[in-house]
């Protein structure tokens, strides 16, 4: 494509794609390009004697599709739970649905045409009807029906839909569905890389839950790569390197080995307390979103859940009207597994980058209808969730976390609703924790600045640094033009964190941090020095945070934090903390996350 000297064409150019880390790990191997381009179907007339053969061909394709979906739903049930499995089971039932199966057979027979065309024709009729429906639930089923249609057609053409995916490959795609990731993981793939998606999209959540290294938001990768190309996927740095040079490859083999040894070495940290050398204890908790992730608490030594995002439970299910009893059923399982440690449930946090299912588009969603604003406007969402969470508190310690609070007015409005729900439950004789702790997310600068007044009315703070940083620096992380200006360790953000922690402590309430910063060992000494009580992060990041805590004295961390608060730029903070971590010999993972600088293998474990 490009103009290049014709010499040595057998040496392909190394190319680096920077995306967003979605699930940790390093994979090196050949690429499998998973293409989901639209299936083109042409009509082909049949002779009368061919009809019988065509019907048999259709039957074979349906049977193969059934086997596919059986496999997918059994994996989904085992790894992700009954709810996710039901979607695939419904797809399987669609294959033999009389309005699909019988009609396709009738169409082949009466129109004497090929099965591919009949399948497309019949399913397109259904699709048109669903798309025209005024029920959001039905419109969302369109994707299921398209999957079914394409699955049958591919089987008719004997294109193996997924079975062409060999183990030991890195899957590259424009986008992947939940089903794809589940099936791929079953086939023992090395990793997943997609052009689109963010760290909280379905692919990322699934990949983390299933332990598959993944990178998302790699714009243009799938156009630039071919099946069989060698690639390196770095789920720590959020990077994919295509056709790496022998030098890069050697460097990465070492990096991969170091990461493996790092994980091994972390094992000894799991049962140990997060305690500084001078005996100051911190609490490490987990950020989770799936029930199936609960095993990770023990595996990585988390003391309870600092943030359970409830959006996913809702989104997995499709419509937003998840019943109170069903919610209770889920929350209770979680609480009972986690107790005696507490589970902090964040109420539904919709809007912003988490799409509302209703066709609801705003010019500026991050400054729009999201978090608590949605909940107060939508009692049909808030009431059942509060009732279910309160009822769950009868089975173990539950903390309520209110998302995206901006003003005291709206928080008080929320407290009124909570009181009303409690009174209702009392009247109905339901038991619940009367003193259930209520905390707020501190993610809007207004709240951090007013933290002393909020602290009089809440039981705990949880700082959400992802949004706090975006709002403070006026940078949308999802906007490629400005994303590099998103600086998690900017002194302005650190000052707001400090204001929040100080206000909390003056009023005797604990302060937690549940943004990505909590799992970043580079931030650990600063946050500890600022007086943070609780770090809440994706479980795999906790051991490294603990390693840093266990290697320092509190006084040293406090001195570092004081310096960081006086820094003029984020760069100064990073320089300060890097030097500090080197001195304390505890920046191992940080070295892995830093650029290739440390790739010469000078680090030993």
């Amino acid at each position: 494509m490009e103009l290049q000297p014709t010499a040595a064409p057998e040496e392909p150019q190394e190319r680096v794609f920077q995306g967003v880390p979605a699930a940790p790990g390093i994979a090196i191997g050949p690429v499998y390009l998973f293409n989901k381009e639209e299936v083109v179907v042409e009509a082909r007339p049949l002779a009368q004697e061919e009809v019988e053969v065509e019907l048999e061909r259709f039957e074979q394709a349906v049977q193969r599709a059934e086997r596919d979906l059986d496999k997918i739903s059994s994996v989904a049930r085992e790894k992700l739970g009954e709810e996710s499995a039901s979607v695939f089971e419904a797809q399987r039932l669609m294959l033999r649905d009389p309005s699909v199966y019988d009609q396709i057979r009738a169409f082949i027979t009466t129109q004497r045409c090929n099965a591919d065309y009949a399948v497309a024709h019949v399913l397109d009729q259904h699709l048109k009807r669903l798309e025209a429906s005024n029920s959001a639930y039905l419109r969302e089923r369109v994707a299921d029906l398209i999957d079914v249609k394409e699955r049958i057609i591919r089987h008719l053409r004997r294109e193996k839909l997924l079975s062409a995916v060999d183990p030991e490959h890195i899957i590259v795609a424009e986008n992947l569905s939940a089903a794809d990731v589940v099936l791929f993981s079953r086939r023992g793939i090395l990793g997943c890389a997609t052009d689109h998606g963010g760290p909280t999209s379905h692919v990322s959540i699934m990949a983390r839950a299933l332990g598959v290294p993944a990178v998302v938001s790699l714009h243009g990768l799938s156009d630039a790569i071919q099946t069989g190309d060698l690639a390196i996927l770095d789920g720590l740095l959020g990077r994919v390197i295509v056709n790496p040079s022998p030098a890069t490859l050697a460097q990465y083999r070492m990096r991969q080995e170091r990461y493996r040894r790092l994980l091994e070495a972390q094992q000894y940290l799991v049962p140990l307390p997060a305690e500084t050398l001078d005996g100051h204890r911190f609490t490490l908790r987990a950020n989770l979103e799936l029930i199936e992730e609960l095993d990770l608490l023990q595996k990585y030594g988390a003391e309870g859940i600092g943030l359970f995002r409830t959006e996913v439970l809702f989104l997995m299910r499709g419509p937003l009207n998840v019943s109170e009893d069903y919610q209770l059923h889920l929350y209770r399982q979680i609480v009972e597994r986690v107790k005696p440690a507490p589970t902090t449930f964040r109420l539904l946090d919709l809007g912003g980058d988490k799409m509302l299912p209703v066709a609801h588009r705003e010019h500026n969603p991050f400054l729009g209808w999201r978090g608590l604003r949605v909940l107060l406007d939508k009692p049909e969402l808030l009431f059942p969730q509060l009732r279910a969470l309160l009822r769950a508190s009868a089975y173990g310690p539950v903390r309520l976390l209110v998302p995206m609070v901006t003003t005291l007015d709206e928080f008080r409005q929320f407290l009124d609703v909570l009181d009303a729900v409690k009174a209702e439950l009392r009247a109905q004789g339901e038991s619940f924790d009367e003193g259930i702790p209520v905390g707020i997310m501190v993610e809007v600068p207004a709240v951090a600045l007013m933290a002393d007044l909020f602290a009089e009315e809440v039981d705990f703070f949880s700082i959400g640094t992802n949004d706090l940083t975006q709002y403070t620096l006026a940078v949308d992380r999802g906007n490629d033009l400005v994303a590099r200006r998103y600086e998690a360790l900017h002194p302005a953000v650190l000052r707001l964190i400090k204001a929040t922690i100080d206000a909390g402590h003056r009023h005797g309430i604990p302060v937690s941090l549940c943004g990505e910063l909590a799992g970043d060992p580079q931030a650990t000494p600063i946050l500890a020095g600022l007086g943070l009580d609780e770090f809440s992060a994706a479980p795999p990041y906790l051991p490294e945070v603990k390693r840093v805590i266990r290697a320092m004295h509190l006084g040293e961390a406090q001195a570092l934090a004081a310096q960081a608060l006086q820094a003029r730029t984020a760069g100064e903070v990073v320089a300060l903390v890097s030097a500090w971590l080197r001195e304390h010999g505890c920046g191992l993972l940080q070295h892995m996350q830093a650029d290739e600088a440390s790739a010469n293998g000078t680090l030993s474990l």
Binding site: S86, A90, S99, L130, Y137, L138, D325
Partner: protein, 89 residues
């Protein structure tokens, strides 16, 4: 032919999982099975049909069973509705 009237009890209505349960159960029987809602009738053995009803909590449905095992089919399906598809504790 047996006709039974039921009310959708479970809060989320006849979404994916309950719809699958109805179709799977109905398919075990030889009898024809139709569901009528607001004068609109669908084949109860069709998952797409059941989903298309978009029946929400409180919806009144007429279940029509016709065939040699209609009695058993009616009992099995009606009990799914009565138990709220396993969602109500």
């Amino acid at each position: 032919m047996i006709v039974r009237e039921v009310t959708v009890k479970n809060k989320a209505g006849l979404h994916t999982r309950p719809a699958s349960m109805i179709v799977r159960t109905a398919s075990r029987f030889k009898s024809d099975f139709y569901i009528e809602k607001d004068g609109y009738e669908i084949n109860g053995k069709s998952i797409i049909g059941v989903m298309t009803l978009a029946a929400e909590q409180g919806a009144r449905l007429k279940l029509i069973f016709d065939g040699e095992d209609e009695q058993e089919a009616a009992e099995a399906i009606v009990s799914l509705f009565e138990q709220g598809f396993g969602e109500v504790e």
